[in-house]
C-alpha cells in the first residue's frame, strides 16, 4: 500500500508512521529531511519549494512501486512539503514497513535517493544577500 502527500502543510512524523504500521510489519525505517541552517557556509534564511504536482505524484508513485518490486515491503509513505520552509522545518518524510529490518533500510534509502534524482520538485535557497535554485548551475 502506498500513501503519497505533496502539499504545504507541516509534516507530522507520527501520522506518517501510523500510515505504514501493520501488525505483520515488525520493522519500519523512516527518513526525515529537514532544512539546514547553512549551505556551503552561507546562512539560510528560508527555502522555497515548488513542484510540478501531477508529475511529482506520478514519479513518487513509480518509485514506490519500484521499491515494492525490489523488496518485500508492506507499506510505503512519502510526504513532501512545498511552499516556504524555515530552518529545521521538515521537507520530506519517507517511511517503509517490512517484516525484517534490512529491507526497510534498503527500500527507504532507494526511495529517498530516487526522489532526489527524479521527482520534479525544486527548492530555492534564500540567503540574506541573494537566492539560488539548488543544483540549477554546475
Amino acid at each position: 500500500m502506498i500513501k503519497l502527500k505533496l502539499n504545504k502543510l507541516p509534516i507530522n512524523v507520527n501520522e506518517v508512521l501510523a500510515s505504514v504500521s501493520s501488525t505483520e510489519a515488525g520493522a519500519i525505517d523512516i527518513f526525515v529531511g529537514s532544512v539546514r541552517s547553512k549551505t556551503a557556509n552561507k546562512q539560510v534564511v528560508r527555502l522555497e519549494y515548488e513542484a510540478y504536482d501531477a508529475m511529482a505524484m506520478r514519479e513518487m508513485e513509480k518509485i514506490a512501486e519500484e521499491a515494492m518490486e525490489k523488496w518485500p515491503v508492506h507499506k510505503i509513505a512519502i510526504h513532501h512539503r512545498k511552499g516556504i520552509l524555515e530552518v529545521s522545518d521538515i521537507a520530506v518524510v519517507v517511511a517503509v514497513s517490512t517484516s525484517h529490518r534490512q529491507e526497510s533500510f534498503e527500500a527507504c534509502k532507494f526511495i529517498i535517493d530516487s526522489l532526489k534524482q527524479r521527482v520534479p520538485i525544486w527548492k530555492k535557497e534564500v540567503f540574506n544577500d541573494g537566492e539560488e535554485w539548488v543544483s540549477a548551475h554546475a
Binding site: Y52, K116, K123, W133, H137
Partner: protein
C-alpha cells in the same frame, strides 16, 4: 502548431512566465524543441541539465510532440 510549455524553478525565472505559448512545426521532436528554446533563451544553456516532460513522464529525445500533449521543462530537480 502552438503548444503550451509549463515552466518551473529556474526555467520559469529565465523565461519569465510559468507558461510559454510556443510555435513549433508539426512532428517536432523533443530534442529539436530543446535546441530551439536554448537558442531563443540562451540562459537555458547554462543549466546543468534541462529535460522535457510529456504528459507527466520524462520524454525520449526523439519523441514526437503532439498539440494536445502536456509539455513541461524540467530543470535539475532538488527535492528532499
Amino acid at each position: 502548431m502552438k503548444i503550451d510549455i509549463l515552466l518551473f524553478g529556474i526555467t520559469r525565472d529565465i523565461i519569465g512566465s510559468s507558461k510559454l505559448n510556443y510555435e513549433i512545426p508539426e512532428n517536432t521532436e523533443v530534442q529539436t524543441l530543446l535546441e530551439n528554446l536554448k537558442s531563443t533563451y540562451p540562459k537555458l544553456q547554462d543549466l546543468t541539465s534541462v529535460l522535457v516532460a510529456v504528459n507527466n513522464e520524462y520524454s525520449r529525445e526523439n519523441q514526437v510532440l503532439k498539440a494536445k500533449d502536456e509539455i513541461a521543462l524540467i530543470p535539475p530537480v532538488s527535492g528532499g
